[in-house]
Symmetry: C2
Subunit: 312 residues, 2 copies
């Protein structure tokens, strides 16, 4: 049995995970990062101890604790190098947690951890290499090679959301223009949905958002596209086109066995993946040679806890 921690800006979610990658017990508390890292570390340990007791286990039944952090982590030194949403720089998180619970502690970036879970127990099961791309508020990514997270020489690879793929003039949070995140995140669909509705208030997008332009979601745009709404279809087609450019770039860089799409937008399923595969096929370098299969993620939000638990 192992402990997986999904440490987010809003919530700390902790799970007991068995040897088959199943979550058998969970607990959570609000993160409230403004309390400082010591309080967050104590909460992580407290929830873990509570879960162990609740499951009638003892500390010796637990092999390790793994933590997915919203930022850059150095697992070997047990340090969170940078977590913007938690206001953390060089935080000795592992050492702090070990004040309360005596376990080997591993950590990695949350997107890497989710990718590890998908590779081990989800859509990438059985593959030797996979890239998982999370299409949510931002665009996250993880690269799993031979069952291990590849996180680079300085622990921050891969950051697919911030590869530049065009000149759309939209400035990313990172300061650059044309990052994949500005084309392929849920946020991009919302931004374009709002723009379209401003010009065409008759669009189904606005109807699906109950007439409130400020509550438009990525799902509203996708649902309107499914109903052949002209504005939504244009936005969604562009979305697919640029996501395909990003994916072809990933294929040209990593040539993984599998590419896995997670996050809210991936819930569109075949409505997204079918045209995406077609667009990728048209833009691939070696059109008659085999390349990565593109699949929908399978583990949903559980990937964070499961992937963290199997860190080593």
């Amino acid at each position: 049995m192992r402990i997986g921690v999904d440490l987010g800006g809003t919530n700390i979610a902790v799970g007991l995970v068995d040897e088959e990658g199943r979550i058998v017990a969970t607990g959570s508390r609000p993160t409230k990062p403004e309390r400082g890292y010591e309080a967050v570390a104590k909460d992580i340990a407290d929830i873990a101890i509570e879960l162990i007791k609740r499951s009638n286990l003892s500390g010796s039944d637990i092999k390790s604790m793994g933590i997915g952090v919203p930022g850059v982590a150095d697992s070997e030194r047990g340090i969170v190098i940078r977590a913007v949403n938690l206001f953390w720089t060089k935080v000795p998180l592992a050492k702090e947690i070990r004040k309360y619970i005596d376990l080997p502690i591993y950590m990695d970036n949350d997107a890497n951890v989710a990718a590890l879970a998908e590779a081990a127990y989800g859509a990438g099961k059985g593959s030797k290499s996979s890239v998982t791309i999370t299409l949510g508020t931002g665009v996250g990514s993880g690269f799993i090679l031979d069952g291990k997270i590849y996180n680079g020489a300085h622990h921050f690879a891969p950051e697919l959301g911030h590869i530049v793929i065009g000149d759309n003039g939209i400035r990313c949070n990172c300061g650059k223009i044309g990052c994949l995140e500005t084309y392929a995140s849920a946020t991009a669909l919302i931004r374009e949905g709002k723009k379209a509705v401003e010009k065409n208030p008759n669009s189904l997008i606005l109807k699906f958002a109950n007439g409130d332009i400020n509550s438009i979601t990525a799902k509203n745009v996708i649902d309107a596209a499914k109903q052949y709404d002209e504005q939504a279809m244009r936005i969604f087609n562009d979305y697919v086109k640029y996501l395909a450019i990003g994916i072809v770039n990933v294929i040209n860089m990593f040539d993984p066995e599998v590419i896995i799409l997670g996050g809210g937008v991936a819930n569109a399923g075949d409505f997204l993946i079918k045209p995406l595969k077609k667009e990728v096929a048209e833009n691939i370098l070696f059109k008659d040679l085999p390349y990565a299969d593109i699949r929908k993620a399978e583990l949903g939000n559980d990937a964070g806890i499961i992937g963290a638990a199997i860190l080593s």
Copy 2:
């Protein structure tokens, strides 16, 4: 002692390489791929046997032969999967060579092989991971991780030249628009140099090309930029800007320890690397965290033979 083969579209270059990565003897013949792969394989074996004899060695002194091929190769099966310039598809090259010389034969893409040489004996010596980018007629690349070539699940990684980084409207040989190769190859400098000279025949670029627009080289453009020629400076600044976008993309994908620049354009040395480092620094994701050092390649054309020789 090992044998390294640099198999190009024009020439077959073969070298004997010692255990310190030094070339101790070389021989070459024209490739003439139109003869078919059997003749090319025989020539490779003939040159190798000749070099062994000339060096007063016998077959048992040679550990292995490695071949850098201008395309996609499957080393395990000894097959060149695709080499466009040689008109080869699924060619059993290793088996054919072994008809004449009994050695373990390894092969990989020529850019990967050059990257391996730089990682082992050149600008990446001592690093755990490096990406070598060759700025020549095209943009080639190799990713070396823990002393091994990373070439992906289908043997074609990485193809940095064909990652899309913008919307420049220029169609790449691969069919896509906006590939790094259309911004950052020597060919891109020549194309922009010609355009500039058509509009401004007074540019030093044309003078350095002896007044012949059709013989403009990348070096002419760089030399004119060094002399503060306005057209050339604009072209070179744009070149640096887009190459930096490509390099930041590489950093965001692979986070390597070192990035090595080879090929003709890299001969510009600090004139290229200084402004490039500045541009990369301004566009990097985590501006205060360490990231890859950018260096000039050290082995020049020898990288092809040396890298091939140390394939395993």
